[in-house]
């Protein structure tokens, strides 16, 4: 056993975990700011109808921030669920299964969301058109 390492008299993680913690902190800080933007956007978009929403997405700043919010959110929420699952599920098999499931759902949701946002930002034709049906 190597000696425990200390930084500012606080014991430093010996294996891993501090990196994850740091990512979670950075992501949450970004999301707190973006959350305010989401609230303001929701206020703008409420009652603006289809055309209003399309106009909103035509603004590149809105599209980029929406995409950023989506990616950072699902990155954060997958770690947040990991923390919760690790707190309550102690059977290795169940834990791995749940963690895998959370990651798959987050990845799929991010991919679908980015796909929609890119199409909306580019003003593509309504959807079934682009899927080859």
């Amino acid at each position: 056993m190597s000696e425990p390492r200390f930084k500012n008299r606080v014991k430093v993680s010996e294996r891993h975990g501090s990196g994850e913690w740091k990512i979670e902190r950075i992501a949450l800080a970004i999301l707190v700011v973006l959350g305010l933007w989401v609230a303001a956007s929701a206020f703008t978009l409420a009652g603006s109808g289809y055309d209003g929403a399309m106009d909103w997405f035509a603004n590149p700043l809105n599209a980029v921030l929406a995409g950023l919010t989506l990616v950072v959110f699902f990155g954060y929420i997958s770690i947040a669920w990991k923390v919760i699952i690790e707190d309550y599920i102690h059977r290795a098999g169940n834990k791995a299964l749940l963690l895998g499931l959370v990651n798959i759902v987050c990845l799929l949701a991010t991919a679908a969301g980015v796909f929609f946002i890119v199409r909306l930002a580019l003003g593509s034709a309504p959807l079934p058109a682009g899927l080859g049906f």
Binding site: R25, F43, G47, M54, I84, H90, A112, I117, L120, L127
Partner: protein, 148 residues
């Protein structure tokens, strides 16, 4: 507590010394409720609720990407009493996420951990979301963006 003394099926790791289980840490049943504890639990609840909320937002994106017809369908559901109820809930969750996120980040920096400040921050995170959501929806109705 049937599993209390069952070392074979134990998931808590308190049987490190065979035959001498270490006591479990106190849990919800034995702790005196405190506002910091409530804020912490509500943040976990918020994490769950915001996950569902994100999927609803994803549904909104999909409806918009599938064109005017699908979007009208989405708006019809959103404007119904049930839809408005869900919408109100989503704003509570959003504000809870923002406030609790800010509280968590503040405390993670080692700031605001004195008893008085921690209590104040926690109270803000428990009641703030409801107050902000009510104000948000009052503004929506006042400006005609939402109608009942």
């Amino acid at each position: 507590m049937s599993q209390a003394a069952d070392a074979k099926d134990d998931q808590t790791g308190r049987f490190a010394v065979p035959g001498k289980p270490r006591p479990l840490s106190p849990h919800l049943q034995v702790w005196r409720w405190h506002v910091t504890m409530l804020a912490s639990i509500l943040f976990r609840v918020t994490i769950g609720a915001v996950s569902v909320g994100a999927l609803i937002v994803l549904g909104w994106l999909a409806a918009l990407a599938f064109g005017p017809e699908a979007y009208t369908g989405f708006l019809t559901v959103a404007a119904s009493p049930f839809g408005l109820f869900i919408g109100f809930g989503l704003t509570v969750v959003l504000f809870s996420f923002i406030l609790n996120g800010a509280r968590h980040e503040t405390n993670d920096l080692g700031v605001g951990l004195s008893l008085k400040t921690a209590n104040t921050l926690a109270s803000l995170c428990v009641w703030g979301p409801v107050v902000l959501a009510v104000l948000f929806w009052a503004a929506l109705f006042a400006t005609g963006r939402a109608v009942l």
